[in-house]
Symmetry: C2
Subunit: 389 residues, 2 copies
């Protein structure tokens, strides 16, 4: 096990009607709030009105900025930063899914910074401070509601880049599973793949002796595998929605990577897909991850056997471990397909004429490789993309 620091101070307020507490919670941190949201679904659902009422009741002043798109854009972030400066905003309230929250986090980083906020995403600067962020979550997927990460897309070159920092942890996250009842099936399924990918990026590690976190990862994966088919059949199944929502948070608040070094190649590769083609991040991961697995599993057959047996209930073939591994990967693909996700680039609607470009662009570590479990070259990335065709 590796040494680690784990500090997840986000206050989680979870359950029915919890959005009514937003005014009181924001009041603890805010003089003036930026209410940040997406395309307007929170207005249609009535959530916007309840949030505004709660802010009014708690006597919290606010301005608003909607219009966050999936794969949130740098241009809107810059617009939000200017608005906050002009209006004297000192607290960001993000109401939505991971895109809205990430956009809000980026605004929070940028407001007190003299330079351009994109500097953080390019590794050119570290923030000295940032505004506090609060969240009302409507989509369980990205885990951004308590994570230290933030992913933004720069339209100039369609670069999708993440920036992780303790500054990015929201001060509170309000999570009402009822708000997820109206999520369309494809978005529910894409979210599930995103959650599972967050766990699997941590699961596939070279760190030995991490049995406890292995088991916590497996518990999280099994929870998603069990409950997502349930909510696709019964979108208003509160308890199943709640299990998924809570799993989405723990999948990405770094609890599951305590003491271990994760991989993250699949995320880096997927960022190239959704950066260029604007596909749903989770759906992209459902395509990339099986291909990555097929490409790297020989690196540590035992870990893949454990994954197949414990997560996918494969009956272990003690004499031919590779068969156990491949059956585990097959069941994962079958699961993704069963919940309506593609498992090939073609199924995702991505042609094969820019694979080289994506492999070349894929963000590398200082040593020029992608990922940790196996350190992939651009050629490896290209091979994985070809396996995913």
């Amino acid at each position: 096990m590796e040494n680690f620091t784990f500090h997840s101070p986000t206050k989680i307020i979870f359950g029915k009607d919890t959005e009514q507490q937003v005014g009181t919670e924001a009041k603890r941190h805010a003089t003036k709030v930026l209410l940040h949201y997406g395309g307007g679904s929170i207005k249609r659902s009535g959530l916007y009105q309840r949030v505004v009422e709660s802010l009014h009741t708690a006597d919290v002043d606010f301005v608003e900025l909607g219009g966050v798109q999936p794969n949130p854009r740098l241009s809107l972030v810059r617009q939000g930063i200017q608005l906050c400066r002009d209006e004297g905003v000192d607290f960001i309230l993000a109401v939505g899914g991971g895109s809205v929250i990430d956009s809000g986090k980026a605004i929070a980083l940028g407001v007190p910074y003299d330079g351009d906020v994109w500097d953080f995403f390019e590794g050119k600067a570290e923030p000295a401070t940032s505004l506090p962020v609060g969240v009302i979550l409507t989509i369980p997927a990205a885990g951004s509601e308590s994570s230290d990460s933030c992913v933004i897309t720069n339209e100039d070159g369609w670069l999708k880049r993440g920036y992780s920092s303790q500054e990015n942890r929201p001060v509170f996250a309000i999570m009402n599973p009822v708000l997820t009842f109206t999520l369309p099936p494809y978005q529910t399924a894409s979210g599930a793949a995103d959650i599972m990918a967050h766990v699997m990026e941590r699961y596939f590690t070279n760190t030995p002796h991490v049995d406890y976190t292995d088991r916590l990862c497996e518990a999280t994966l099994k929870t998603i595998i069990k409950h997502v088919p349930m909510v696709l059949l019964e979108p208003e199944n509160y308890d199943a929605r709640a299990e998924i929502m809570w799993a989405s948070t723990l999948a990405h608040n770094n609890l599951l990577s305590t003491g271990r070094i994760g991989d993250w190649a699949s995320h880096q590769i997927e960022h190239e897909l959704s950066g260029i083609y604007d596909v749903a991040h989770g759906a992209g991961l459902a395509v990339v991850f099986p291909a990555w697995m097929k490409y790297v599993y020989r690196h540590n057959i035992d870990r893949f056997v454990q994954f197949a047996v414990r997560v996918w209930n494969v009956e272990q073939n003690f004499f031919e471990p590779e068969k156990t591994v491949l059956e585990g990967i097959r069941r994962m693909e079958e699961f993704f397909q069963s919940i309506g996700l593609p498992v090939t680039l073609e199924g995702l609607g991505i042609p094969d004429d820019r694979l080289e470009e994506m492999a070349a662009k894929c963000r590398k570590s200082p040593d020029g490789t992608v990922g940790n479990f196996v350190k992939l070259t651009s050629e490896d990335v290209l091979n994985i993309l070809k396996l995913a065709k």
Copy 2:
């Protein structure tokens, strides 16, 4: 699933040599520190000297108070409160196991309070504030290093009482598994039973649809069951010590009770044992829990079947579920015995002449009962104690 608020803001600093960071961490919160510890083992081990050096290096002023005993005493807490007031202490650094940490938490609660600190434990008052507490953990067991709970024994009547509050969460917990290498086998085993009990108190719930937290509980129990025998054979097995230490924290920071109502009868009953007889808390729990299980399992056979199958790997008897349940309980008793713990009052050295007194004294809820899974009367508690003879 129930609504919940989960807020565990303790910064965990985990791994080899991490105690060297204590000065820097304390400096963030402290003007003057109370260095609080137990019987002096930290002086013999050299930890005391390393802590003092780190405080000196960071230029942090401190006074000290040692002498905390297992089942920490109210009299020393009162002494610590007076010392802190006299010396202008604004930060408590507890170096030790659960007893030292709980003693430190009680001092932290008492310093800014005008009345007697015991008021909090009797439910007569709520703290408006408390001093911040930092921890260097040396015994994985109580989970107090990040929990919201604190248990103190009042020598006047040997009342052992807990008080839980968000105020009790330490601001940081430094956890170096190497510090646990020298724990004697009985203390290691008692700690393991305490950790398992914290999980099982949460596991046996009447809240339906809590599959995710069930699985997280099972992961934690299996981690303890796997690694404790390993460290009894190899006390300096770093990775096994690390798995136990991290499990001890997550077992009791309320992560595993998110969305569910736990039981806690066994803890209440054990408090009477260790309040009067001063036995190790964990060893007391190893005696009470199996008896409690045998007394209540019919209340929800399915939950006990799941426990037996998933935690103890009992091959399920689908036609006679009671056999599966009883085999699970038997394996738990066998496990406790295998790590050197008693599973009867007699084995614990407790005679049977004060069982009625303990059953009568056992702290009741406002409705006069003990526990939640099954609400026990004093007569039920007596029956459980008799089953444990």
